[in-house]
């Protein structure tokens, strides 16, 4: 038995993103004496944050009303110009603003790096006395005898490939709390365990996801229009009958953040979200903007697309789910930071009185009740059929129906269809023999790049001598099932080139290059039989995003 140290807190927050930091700040605003800590697996706050981002400041206005006067990086670039393009091959058509409901306009929103917003939030939290520990992942959930969550164990450091202690071994420690807030973001590995253990998804639809892949570019000054935001749908995913879209935001300092989200319910196993993104950049309307510029950063992360009907129960004995760990993304607006922050704040508003009453380990139903009657609920219910309409009727008709449903809900208060169902992304994957391989163009090294070159721009790093953090339940499945039936989709959906089939015939095997992992969580979601489980590697590893 390893002798582990313990530390006690009122509230332990797992994850230093917008939801977790907002929760911690709100807790200290309510009760300055609470002992609150935030664990972050990245090497620093912001290192693992990746988003567009166009941020609706609604929650921030409530949390820190004078944020604009406090050097907040979000304030630099208000959205001034908003476009929605439908791409065809080689051309684009802009949708008239008038046909989209007003909440789609991005008026009053700001475009910036969410990582930088989190760095700023962390400074605010620390000033209030929150203890923030970057480089310490929560690796395990700890339960008391009654089965309530009583805290988390941080990851062990210094284990070798086989899991044996190295000379620099440093055991993880137990952080015990009255309540634990799971704010891990989309597909958090502990949130996944808590959802299963407490059956939190018993009354909701399965969560579904999109994979967002992003690059940051310095572009030529003459092409840069600060505050201009562009969203696209249609080409190139329309060619494979898949769904998703691109974004291109003109941010501060002559940079554009551009990226591409592919819904992971795609059926054709030959689809490569990475290659679709590279191809999208070659569209003349996009290429014209970035040509002559320079890519400076790369990364990827999944985003929740299930919407309101996929939100699980949020409170369980000893803990709550906040932010994307639960999934409050407004899919047609492609925004979840404001709802994530608000959910963290609502959790804090239930946590603070519970701690004041000397309670611990119970399920904070007050939080769930408050959230389900908050503006998060209003906003998400309004758009809850947008994604399923598209999933069911395709990009063309689906968009029209989604628009009609959103209009009806905004104007009449009810939609054209009842809340619609989802199907799991993993099960959506079709058999390879039913689809044709896709011939993606070779990267030109100027606008489009090969995967491994781009991965270097995520500054990701993992120790070579540590246990692999991508666990296979059955090591035979990759070759016997995935390769045989689905043509090995992991080699294509992973945006970091982690999965590679090597050898031929009977010698074929799956190589897992875990060092490349950018912690996007796609493999944990899209593996056809759910054979891959993502767990935390050593603290501080993974990408080092500068301002993503």
């Amino acid at each position: 038995m390893i002798d582990r140290e313990e530390m006690h807190y009122d509230v332990v927050v797992v994850g230093g993103g917008p939801a977790g930091l907002s929760c911690a700040i709100r807790l200290k605003q309510f009760s300055p004496d609470l002992a609150v800590c935030v664990l972050e697996k990245g090497s620093e706050i912001g290192a693992h944050i990746l988003s567009g981002a166009v941020v609706d400041p609604r929650a921030l206005d409530e949390l820190l009303p004078d944020w604009r006067d406090l050097d907040c990086p979000l304030a630099a670039t208000p959205v001034t110009d908003n476009w929605h393009w439908v791409l065809g091959k080689g051309k684009h058509r802009a949708l008239p603003h008038a046909i989209m409901p007003r909440f789609m306009s991005n008026e009053g929103c700001y475009t910036a790096s969410l990582g930088n917003l989190c760095r700023w939030l962390a400074a605010q939290a620390e000033a209030l006395g929150v203890e923030i520990f970057p480089g310490f992942p929560a690796a395990e959930l700890l339960y008391d005898e009654a089965g309530a969550l009583r805290g988390v164990r941080t990851g062990d450091m210094g284990l070798d490939r086989e899991g044996n202690p190295r000379p620099d071994f440093q055991p993880g420690m137990d952080l015990l709390a009255r309540y634990t807030v799971l704010a891990e973001g989309a597909r958090g590995h502990l949130s996944k365990q808590a959802i299963a253990r407490f059956d939190l998804a018993r009354d909701c639809q399965p969560q579904i996801y999109g994979l967002g892949i992003k690059e940051l570019w310095d572009i030529k000054p003459e092409n840069h229009v600060p505050g201009r935001v562009i969203h696209t749908q249609g080409w190139p995913l329309s060619e494979s009958g898949s769904w998703g879209g691109g974004f291109l935001y003109h941010q501060a300092e002559g940079q554009v953040a551009l990226g591409f989200v592919t819904a992971l319910d795609y059926k054709n196993p030959y689809v490569s979200p990475y290659e679709e993104f590279q191809r999208w950049k070659q569209h003349p309307s996009i290429r014209a903007i970035i040509e002559g510029g320079k890519r400076v950063a790369y990364g990827a992360r999944v985003i929740n697309e299930g919407g309101w009907q996929s939100v699980p129960h949020l409170a369980f004995p000893g803990g709550v789910l906040v932010g994307c760990a639960a999934g409050f993304v407004n899919v047609p607006r492609i925004k979840g930071s404001h709802t994530a922050m608000k959910s963290g704040m609502l959790a804090a508003e239930a946590l603070a009185p519970a701690v004041a009453q000397d309670r611990r380990g119970d399920a904070l139903e007050d939080y769930e009740t408050a959230l389900r009657s908050s503006w998060i609920a209003d906003e998400l219910k309004l758009v809850q059929n947008a994604q399923p309409m598209v999933a069911k009727f395709g990009g063309g008709l689906g968009t029209v129906l989604a628009g009609a449903d959103m209009w009806a809900r905004s104007l009449l208060g009810f939609g054209i269809a009842r809340p619609m169902a989802h199907h799991s992304d993993a099960k959506a994957t079709g058999r390879a023999d039913l689809y044709k391989p896709i011939a993606y163009p070779k990267p030109d090294g100027v606008i489009s790049f090969d995967r491994l070159t781009n991965v270097a721009f995520s500054a990701t790093n993992h120790d070579e001598d540590e246990p692999c953090h991508l666990k296979l339940a059955d090591p035979a499945v990759p070759v016997n099932v995935n390769l045989k039936l689905y043509a090995g989709p992991e080699a294509r959906y992973c945006p970091a080139g982690v999965y590679e089939f090597l050898g031929e015939g009977a010698e074929t095997r799956l190589q897992i290059n875990a060092q490349n992992c950018v912690h996007c969580k796609t493999c944990d979601i899209k593996d056809p039989t759910g054979n891959i489980t993502w767990v935390t590697p050593q603290g501080g590893e993974g990408p080092n995003y500068p301002n993503m």
């Binding site: 140290e5 912001g46 990582g115 520990f133 500054a459």
Partner: protein
């Protein structure tokens, strides 16, 4: 014996440095910074000396911006006892740093000074040597093993032809090479404890040192991208190519 250790806040080794558009330097805005890896080895060596009962106190010193206090805290979390931050937002060259360390060494009277052999940002590899000269003490650079015996230190150096062993009278200056040790991970409780360890903040002027740069950076540029290679069909074609290029 008191041990003095230098730690520098540098761009993290995982990060791809990006040259500013105007060529004036490397863009450090929002870039992850951490302790120079060779300095981590220096701190680790000092902590091991303390664990062996050889060192009694470890003082860590950093010269740099206010944020460099984070680097000092990392060293304190690894086991150092107190920190000195010589705070400046100006660029500092090895000579200025060596003069500051010289002044601090005179004040603190350490038995041993351990520095990284070089910082991974400017790769100067000068500070330790300059300090030894200014201070008039022996130097053991590129150390891959350090042993204290009475009032002397034995330093094994990594040199081109193999290993060289020196014996220096204390006090002395040692600079660390990669193979000296494997630095430990700081534990959470030690990070907490490090927050209450003392750090004194000073200015270069407090030591009477003029840190004005002696060098002027004309421009900073990224290396030219590597040209794509050519595949040849046969050995003959290879020989032909090599002759063409004048290398065979």
């Amino acid at each position: 014996m008191k041990v003095l250790v230098g730690v520098k806040r540098v761009i993290d080794y995982n990060v791809r440095p990006r040259v500013k558009a105007d060529g004036s330097g490397v863009d450090l805005a929002n870039v992850k910074m951490s302790m120079n890896p060779f300095d981590e080895i220096a701190v680790e060596e000092a902590v091991r000396l303390k664990e062996k009962g050889v060192a009694s106190e470890i003082v860590v010193v950093s010269v740099g911006p206010a944020k460099a206090v984070d680097t000092l805290r990392t060293a304190l979390a690894m086991g150092a006892d107190r920190g000195i931050l010589v705070q400046t937002d100006e660029p500092v060259e090895p000579l200025a740093v060596a003069k500051l360390f010289h002044a601090i060494a005179q004040e603190e009277a350490p038995g041993l000074v351990i520095l990284g052999k070089q910082a991974i940002d400017d790769d100067s590899n000068q500070t330790g040597q300059m300090l030894a000269a200014l201070w008039g003490r022996g130097q053991g650079t590129f150390a891959s093993a350090v042993a204290i015996e009475g009032d002397a230190v034995t330093v094994t150096r990594e040199v081109d032809g193999g290993l060289e062993t020196l014996k220096l009278s204390l006090p002395a200056v040692v600079t660390t090479d990669l193979r000296l040790n494997e630095p430990r991970f700081a534990s959470l409780p030690n990070i907490m404890k490090a927050r209450s360890k003392p750090v004194a903040t000073k200015a270069p002027a407090d030591f009477g040192v003029d840190i004005t740069p002696r060098l002027k950076t004309l421009s900073v540029a990224e290396p030219a991208p590597r040209k794509a290679g050519v595949k040849v069909e046969s050995v003959d074609a290879l020989v032909e190519k090599l002759k063409e290029l004048g290398v065979a």
